[in-house]
Structures are given as C-alpha cells and as structure tokens.
C-alpha cells in the first residue's frame, strides 16, 4: 500500500484525549480534544479516542483513507507487540486490548506505546534528541516519567517496565512514594515534590516571593511558582530546583555509568526550571559517573513541549 503521509497521533491522559493529525515531516496539521471518561471503561475510552481522531481529521480536511495509521500513547505498562495496556492505574485498565478497540472503530492500523516512551520518540524524531540513538529522557510532571532510547529504539525490558525512571530509588531513607517504596526519584524531583518543598518554605515564612506569586494565582503554590520565583532571583526557590536537580543528577550518574548515553533530555512541565535543574545535574554526573561516559553525555531540555507525546505517538505508525 502506498504511504499516505499522515498519521493520527493520540496522547491519552486520564482527563483528556488529545488527537493530532501529523505529517510525515513531523508537523501537526490539525488537532482536537475530547474528555477521556475512564469511568466509561475501555470501550468508552476507545470511543472517545475515535471521536477525537475523527474531529482532528475533519479539522485537517482529511479522511480516514488518508491515514497510514493511528499511534496511541497511553499511561501505564504496555505490551507493544499485542497492542495491550497491561496495567494503568490512571485509566483503571488491566489487560485492555486498546489497539484492537480503536481499530474496530476507525478501521485503520493502530499501534500503542507508553506515553513517556512516546515523548521520547517525539523528541528523537524532531526535537531535542534528533539524530541521537542512545538517549535517556525524563518527564518531570505530577510524577517523573522516563524513556530509554537504546540503539535507536525504545527499550521496554522483559515485560514493558523499562524506563520507569521515576521509581529508581535515589535515597533509601527518603520520603515515601506513591508506589509504596521510599526515596524514589519521583518522591523528590517531581513537580509535586517541588511544590511540597515550596509549601514548607512558604509556611516557614522564608520566601515572600513565592508567597506573593502563589497568592496571585489564588493560593496555588505549584512548580510553576517555584520556577518563576527562581528566575526572579529567589534563593529558596533556586535551592528547591537545585535539590531536585541534584537528585536527577545522582540517578543520571548511575545511568550514565551503566548505559553510556549520548544525551539526557528533560521534558515535562517542571523542565522549564532549565539551568536551575540542569546545572546541578551536570555537576552530579561529573562527580559520580564514570569519567569516560561522563565526558560524552550532554544534558539538554526537551524542545517539543506538550506536543512530544502526540508527535511521538504518530511515529509509531511509521516504525
């Protein structure tokens, strides 16, 4: 079959389904969104994916026959070969054949992959990791996601869990994580962890800057406040980002010694902390990673923002 040159990329979140028609050149031609409604179960979610996809196609002035296929980025653990979501707490899915459910509704080939892995693929295809075959990606959001691109491909491990970098233990005596373990990277370096640290600092009256910024947005003290305050010169906010960067750097140092990557990319909302995060990461890598691989690796910020997952999902179709 001749290639049509378009794919539908789906970024499936617990709240929203984002759909985008993506060209072979990596451009998002049109978009649409629908509510995910996980409470309606797998068939309901698949229906909403199909509706969002049709909306995006219509907005692009295209038809289903113009598509080479659909790629879905989903939270949770996937069996990529069989198109099954093995488990996703956010969606309340357990062994859901999501690819088949979407294919039934759209009649085109459907592939799926973990959402953080899709973000990695997006950045590799046309973002910060373009041209690199050995890449570690962190996504810093509510949690810490991750992706390992090894030898040019997403590495999923024996059962699809590989790249779950947020649950690497970085401090055996550290705070409890949502997963039940202690001192996971996610528990100390996610946007959630940054916000928690900021609330403590503000409660202790140590950062008038963050207190003011939070009150300006109705009292919501989130990672965005920390980043804005840090840019404005607030030392407490800078210290929160530095600490998160050091933890990211400690995990990265281990991964650099073990995996010898070319590039470490940080994405997700909190990655806008930029150099406040990346400079301590580089310092920890220089201090704790093996000198050979440490001299090779670069730490950079993701460049596709929130579109990385959607664009990466589309690439599944052409892989």
């Amino acid at each position: 079959m001749a290639e049509q040159g378009y794919a539908l990329g789906i970024d499936l979140g617990a709240t929203t389904v984002k759909a985008g028609v993506v060209s072979r050149a990596g451009e998002i031609v049109a978009r649409a969104e629908r509510a995910t409604e996980p409470e309606k179960g797998p068939a309901g979610v698949a229906e909403n994916i199909a509706l969002a996809g049709r909306d995006a196609l219509r907005a692009a002035g295209l038809e289903l026959s113009d598509l080479d296929g659909v790629g879905v980025g989903t939270p949770g653990i996937c069996n990529v070969d069989e198109g099954v979501v093995v488990s996703s707490g956010n969606l309340n899915f357990k062994n859901v054949p999501l690819a088949a459910l979407v294919r039934e509704r759209l009649g085109v080939p459907v592939r799926l992959e973990n959402d953080a892995n899709c973000a990695g693929l997006g950045e590799q295809w046309c973002g910060a990791a373009r041209g690199h075959d050995d890449v570690i990606l962190y996504t810093l959001g509510t949690g810490v996601g991750g992706a390992l691109i090894l030898g040019g491909r997403i590495y999923g491990g024996a059962t699809g869990w590989a790249g779950e970098l947020g649950h690497i233990c970085v401090d055996p005596d550290g705070p409890e994580c949502t997963c039940g373990l202690k001192g996971c990277l996610e528990a100390v370096a996610s946007a959630t962890a940054m916000a928690r640290a900021a609330r403590e600092v503000v409660a202790a009256g140590r950062s008038p800057a963050m207190a003011r910024l939070a009150s300006e947005q109705g009292g919501r003290l989130d990672a965005r406040v920390v980043i804005t305050a840090a840019r404005g010169g607030d030392p407490e906010a800078q210290q929160i980002l530095r600490k998160a960067g050091e933890y990211l750097g400690l995990v990265s140092a281990m991964l650099v010694s073990a995996l010898n990557p070319e590039l470490i990319v940080i994405g997700g909302g909190a990655s806008h902390g930029g150099e406040f995060l990346m400079e301590p990461m580089r310092q920890m890598i220089a201090r704790h990673a093996m000198p050979g691989p440490a001299s090779v690796v670069k730490v950079v910020q993701a460049s596709l923002g929130n579109d990385a997952g959607l664009i990466g999902a589309a690439t599944l179709v052409w892989r």
Copy 2:
C-alpha cells in the same frame, strides 16, 4: 561459504592468553595458553594470541581452514564494529586495531568484544542465562565487571562503555575507587573489597576462622578465604559477603527499576559466595526496586565459571 562449525575463542587477560577451539554446540574441543606479554606492545600481544590459537587448533587436530573465525574477548573499551581496542589500562592499549593485527597472522575473520561482555554472551549462549534476552551480568573478581544483554544483544552504549557496572556509584561518601571516584560498586563489592574487609576483621582478632584459613595458604587472605569461612559458619565472613551482596542488591534494584531485566547473573571468582551474596541481593531488590519489575527478575549464579569469556568470545564469530 559453508560453515565449518568451529571457532577460536580467545580470552585475553593482562597475564595470560587463553585460547579454545569451540564447537557450534558450545563445547570446548581443545585449549592452549600463552603469556600475554603486554610489554611487547600490540604486535607482540597479537602474535601471542595467534600462537595460542595455533596451539589450540593443533591440540584439536584441526587447521585454520576448519575455522569460521576468531573471537577475542579483551579487557577495556572496544569499538566492536571496527575491531579496535579503544583503551585498556591493563594492556596499555590505546586505539589498537587488534582484530586486524590478529587477522594478519591467522588469515581468518576476527571479531572482538569486551571481556565481561563475552562472559555475558557465553552465559547466554549455553550457561545460566540460556534462553533469556534481557540479562544483567556482574563479574566479581579483582574488580567488578558487567555486561548488559538487552533485547538479546550486548548493549555497548554510545561509545562502548555501557555495562561497566563496577563504576556505578552506590555510596557517594564511600571508599575511594581505583577509577578516582568514591563509593563505586567495585570499591565495596569486588573480591578485593571483600579481602580488605577480611584483613580488618582478622587484624582486630574477630575471626580466628579466617586467620587460620589464611595462614594455611601462606598468609594470603583473599575472597576465597572469606567464602570458605562463611560456608564453615563464620559470622564475620558471612557478614562481609552479606554487605557486598547488599551493595550489589542496591545497584541491582536501580537497574531493575530502570531496565526491567528477566535475570541477574553473578559470575567471577567471588560469585562462589553464592547464597551468602544472592539472598541479600534479592532482599534489596524487593525493598528498593519498583514492585512490577522486581516481581519478574531472578538472581542466579553463573554456570560456566572461567570458561564463560572464552565460550562467549567464540560466539562473536557466529553472530
């Protein structure tokens, strides 16, 4: 060209070149050894490899034309595609085209790979990791080597350093390592580290058992003494192995979360510590690795002993 069914496997050490004629079934048909003599430089070492290889062939009653090729396992960092030893402190090699130097002397195809990676390939081909595609191997000797088999293949990373697991930092405030960093796995869990711990215990008069075993072999207090004493019930010796096992387990927990392997194999001389090492490894993995991948992975002892590297080197020819 029809396959002959034999390969020459070379295990190149700083002191000794071990050569073995290996059959397609993984059997070592004949062996030979020569001194490595790294002081004679790359050409001298290549000559000794060729001599050991010819000796082994003769012992097997075979000729060069019976070989499908030669595989060389070498210490240090390799550019596998180009057959170059990029750097090896033990051999004092820097960018040595070793494959070409050996090919000149034997006239058959030559491939090379890092020695710990060869041990991993050997165990995967016909040892403890047979039938497994996602494997982490540690070799516990003077140092701690490692190999990552990911998706069925050795993963070398961007520049050949991947799998150097001995230099993963496991205790940022720990003892200094030969590499210049602090708290590397090698500095706390190698046979050398075990022997150092044993010397302290014996000097403090806390282990008559190890003192006696050491005196029986002329005062040499090495990891073998620790292992023998532990088997005999000496609590101090058991504690040394437990401590090493816990460090191995802590690094393994991180790697299990990141890479989701099926199997962790421990090889090398000190792996004879067996359950005294592996049980604490499993405990640390259960405590600090993400529950999903932790439930999948098994920790086992290597089964090919000192032959793993030689057998694995031979497999390079048929890959």
